[in-house]
Subunit: 702 residues, 2 copies
Amino acid sequence: MRVDLGFFQIASIVISILAFGVAFWLYKWVASQPSSNKRIAEVGKLIKDGANTFLAKEYKTLAVFSSVVAILILLFLPQPIWNGNVLENIIMALAYLIGTVFSAVAGKIGMDIATIANQKSAEAATKGIKPSFMAGYRGGAVMGMAVVGSSLLGVVLVLMITNNTTALLGFSFGASSLALFAKAGGGIFTKTADISADLVGKVELGIPEDDPRNPAVIADNVGDNVGDCAGMGADLFDSNVASMAAALTMAASLDQASGGNLNTSTVFCYASIGLLSSIIGVFTANMKEGGSPTRALNSNTYVTTAIYGILTAIATWAFGLEWPIWFASTIGLLVGVVIGIASDYFTDDNKKPVHMVAKACETGPAFTILSGVSYGLLSTLPAMIGIGVSALGSYKVCDYYMGEGYGMFGISMAAVGMLSIVGMIISNDAYGPIVDNARGLVEMGGLGDKALEITDSLDSAGNTVKAVTKGFSIGAAGLTVIALLGAFISEVNIAALDMGKVAAGEAYIKGFDVMDPVVFFGLLVGAAIPPVFSAMLMLGVDRNAQRMIKEIHRQFREIVGLKEGKEGVMPEYDKCIEIATDGALKELIAAGLFAIISTLVVGFIGGVHAVGGFITGNIISGLIFALFMSNSGGLWDNTKKYIEAGNNGGKNSEAHKNGVVGDTVGDPFKDTAGPSINTQITVVSLVASLTSTLFLAFSLFG
Amino acid sequence: MRVDLGFFQIASIVISILAFGVAFWLYKWVASQPSSNKRIAEVGKLIKDGANTFLAKEYKTLAVFSSVVAILILLFLPQPIWNGNVLENIIMALAYLIGTVFSAVAGKIGMDIATIANQKSAEAATKGIKPSFMAGYRGGAVMGMAVVGSSLLGVVLVLMITNNTTALLGFSFGASSLALFAKAGGGIFTKTADISADLVGKVELGIPEDDPRNPAVIADNVGDNVGDCAGMGADLFDSNVASMAAALTMAASLDQASGGNLNTSTVFCYASIGLLSSIIGVFTANMKEGGSPTRALNSNTYVTTAIYGILTAIATWAFGLEWPIWFASTIGLLVGVVIGIASDYFTDDNKKPVHMVAKACETGPAFTILSGVSYGLLSTLPAMIGIGVSALGSYKVCDYYMGEGYGMFGISMAAVGMLSIVGMIISNDAYGPIVDNARGLVEMGGLGDKALEITDSLDSAGNTVKAVTKGFSIGAAGLTVIALLGAFISEVNIAALDMGKVAAGEAYIKGFDVMDPVVFFGLLVGAAIPPVFSAMLMLGVDRNAQRMIKEIHRQFREIVGLKEGKEGVMPEYDKCIEIATDGALKELIAAGLFAIISTLVVGFIGGVHAVGGFITGNIISGLIFALFMSNSGGLWDNTKKYIEAGNNGGKNSEAHKNGVVGDTVGDPFKDTAGPSINTQITVVSLVASLTSTLFLAFSLFG
């Protein structure tokens, strides 16, 4: 049965709306959970207000930034306005703005529910692990559904309205430029607060985590929301849109060549089935009283993966789609799972790496660091091989069975496959900060040891699952950007044809030969961007934390009775939130601009070939650093928790002290620098694709 | 004036022999310096014996390894013996063995003089900074002259005798396979001993560095010799040979095409002028009483650079060589200096990074690590840009003015230029471990505080200069391997022609397109090798240090009177040396084989295109990690020294304690993992070039 493209587009819209419906239903469900504790409501409100303060300031800054970019797009893209078609430039600028708005709204929705679900989950913890888990999980799922629903809906609508894949790249660029800042800014905020709170609270004063006397405690909990929730949502929104944009760009040009719309239909078909599978997965998610939350979360992932594989196979058969493409998307998803399992190995507290690092903690802080760094570096190998194998496999199969041009499309479909269950991934991931917050609320609300134990175990599961989901999102970003490299080439060739640089039917560039010194130059410089970018973010956290520590010290010194916990004496939480916010915004702009401007500089020096090398170098070193930093950080975090659970001397031992050092180093690794690299790679690729015309028109050595 | 190739070859031989003469004279000069202190002679002998024990064991292991490789070469390379020319295989295997022997001998000579010069420098420190500096510096220069003399001589002789550039690659592979193990093994040895001695001695017991009660103190001093001296010598021997081999391979094929031997002549002309410049530089090296040793060492480098530039310009004019090639070699050398200066900025204790990290040390160990990692990551940018610019510049100029094929030759000549003053570089670099040892001998021989102060300042200069020389050698390795990529392509094309895969005049491969998924697969996997390789080495140090710490604890526990320093009670130094030796040999084999075997696996999976990608990925991530690790390590080391000099609280402050943590993390970064990556990259490139025929004959996706 062959059906029309319109059918799949309508299906995508329907399923997106279904996802919104589910999100709404889950939202209502979470909101209807009982809440009666006044103290929790109070603290919860502080967190909510803090998060909104940050988001408001951030979005205001980004609105200015986006407006400037939109004006630049209007003037120069896809072609300088005086050369080209004014309408195209307007469409492009609008698509860009819509991308930023969609991304911002998805982040905001996720954060709103997170700041409700944390309270519900905390209160439910007094009743048992199951209701507490469900409140946290379903809160996360609201975000998952909202993000994926809006990304699919956005892509369908932009394409239906403009019928122009370049506009799709503009939409995607809007999403990723916002994600870059949301992720980096949120990452700096959250780690500033986390590190400062821990260093002064736990290390210097020996007061427990989440102790309400700590002036940074609210900022810390706000950070979980703005960094891990809103930032991560924007990040995956961006990856998802980028993977669809890359696939659709190639599908459209293949469809144009072959006549018909089979390829475009396939993309929408698989993407909507992915969302449908995630919806089913979210509803079947459950855990038994006394069960393991980690297992519950991971089994969701496997169930969703299986559903996706089966449903897409049925659809491929029923609608007469191409099996090689099905193979590509499935291998992408499977490799995603494998990468996730490998990340899990390096960060799971039942596995050798955590035990070895815990043992190193007994010897001293230096060994804690050295062993954590070493395992983090080792962890890059399976993921790199996995990404390489899935790219190679999907390319070769599609190229062999379907012909020229389909290989690269196959890679893009592997990325779409890997991200197909992103709704599930986000739900699992957003669950983490929610229960982390719930733990804080239980502590601050004084809900008792049993509730604390429950939220502790939920929080720890969140950490482990995070490693898996991060592996997924890094792998998917890798494949997506390889596919975007293909999109970059088609953009360049179209532009070269328009500019009369080549005759019709000829390609201006076919690839990027590393033996071409201009490409090699790009490779070398591009590879240096992710380490420098992450260093800028980490130094930003460092500087910001120093400021906040000074403020915490001041409060403990100047506010009488605070240290002693005198009744009615409260720290000035908002001062810390302010420092974290202002610092984060200041630091993120520098790092973000650095990535974008270096792309432009390399392009104007070496032209499109240098940019091709630049993107490639950027992808390769970006993947390595993202994997290394995320996994080392997760490893240290879980090592600390493992020691706190009574191993290698347990709490307050020498090993524990060193474990805290490792965790503190790992925090900006895994929550600021590592995951921001993902977005940085995507942004660089999109900037390159969008500005290719400019480099064609002018470059020093191009 | 056009002269014959023979002239330049003879000149190279003459200048090589001159270098040996200079080395011999310097050796005599150092040996003739007064030595009378019995205690120093005793300890000096312990160090010498320990170093020889290690070297004997290491060379025995490597002899077995090399024999196996030689047999494999005999059977399979350049072609399986049953297909090809038996004589060629014999020449290849012999060239390989000669390469290993030359490298081993150069290492041994360097170590012998180092274990004499350390004593002379120590004793001279009682007379003043100048004689102490001269003894250390001229000791280092013996090694510099021996290494460069033998590498140039080896290359000339192999080429004159075999008249075959593939044999030259075999020679180079011999040198680098030995260097890989010497550098990695020595690096594991030295850091095992250093870390263990520091952790138990300085941190746990609070006894001074180099205290003779410490059972690991001799092993620590031995380590300076085997790791920093012999290992580093083998490393630069290898880089130097590899750069000449790559340049000569391309020069020979260009000469063949154009008739004549201008290009080959140019390589020998510039290489011998480089050696001559280094000889002059070594003799003009001097310092005033009361002067700065750092300035003395650095000004040597600048003087030698200037001499090289001028002499090669004169030679180019007089012998009618090509100016574009002169430009390439000069830009290479200049960029080397720039990279050195950039490395210096990130590690010099007068500059911002050291001050910032020292400030972070006040806050805690986690910030010490985070800031050091961040600056290390930032430091990669200038070097990557520098390497990129020199590659691009030398290629474009030679390609534009001299025609096709000359671009890649230009890059190889940039590498030759960067390494031209390697004699100088090695002299400066070997100076470091000698005066480090001298400091230990002054402490153990009880030569007084003034002598200690002098050797301390000499040691600190050694550290700073090391950063510069490391920047040089990393940059040179980068350019060399880019050139080797060119050599790899010519090897493949020759083999493809022999195998009848292409007709005469056709090229089997011209380059490596990153859009080819097989190349991309290679890129991804190749990029993961350096981080994994360095992790293996660091974990090796970690494991080995744990064993040694246990042994030190045992000695302090069981040897009565040791801790109290009772007269006549001596620790069992040899036990620690044994642990360091055995552990190092065990760990290095795994890491070395991993690099070699992954090259073969990728080749058999993806064929020559995958290998091209693999080498490229390997170069790019290898350069980043080598730069990052070397510079972070140097930064931490100098930060610790900066604090010890009385800043940020001075010795025994909280900042100092954290500075020691940073230094301990940095030690395996900068002396084990970082610099071994250089060699790993070269080995992978050479293995790939030599085995290209096998991948052509069989591969899964090739």
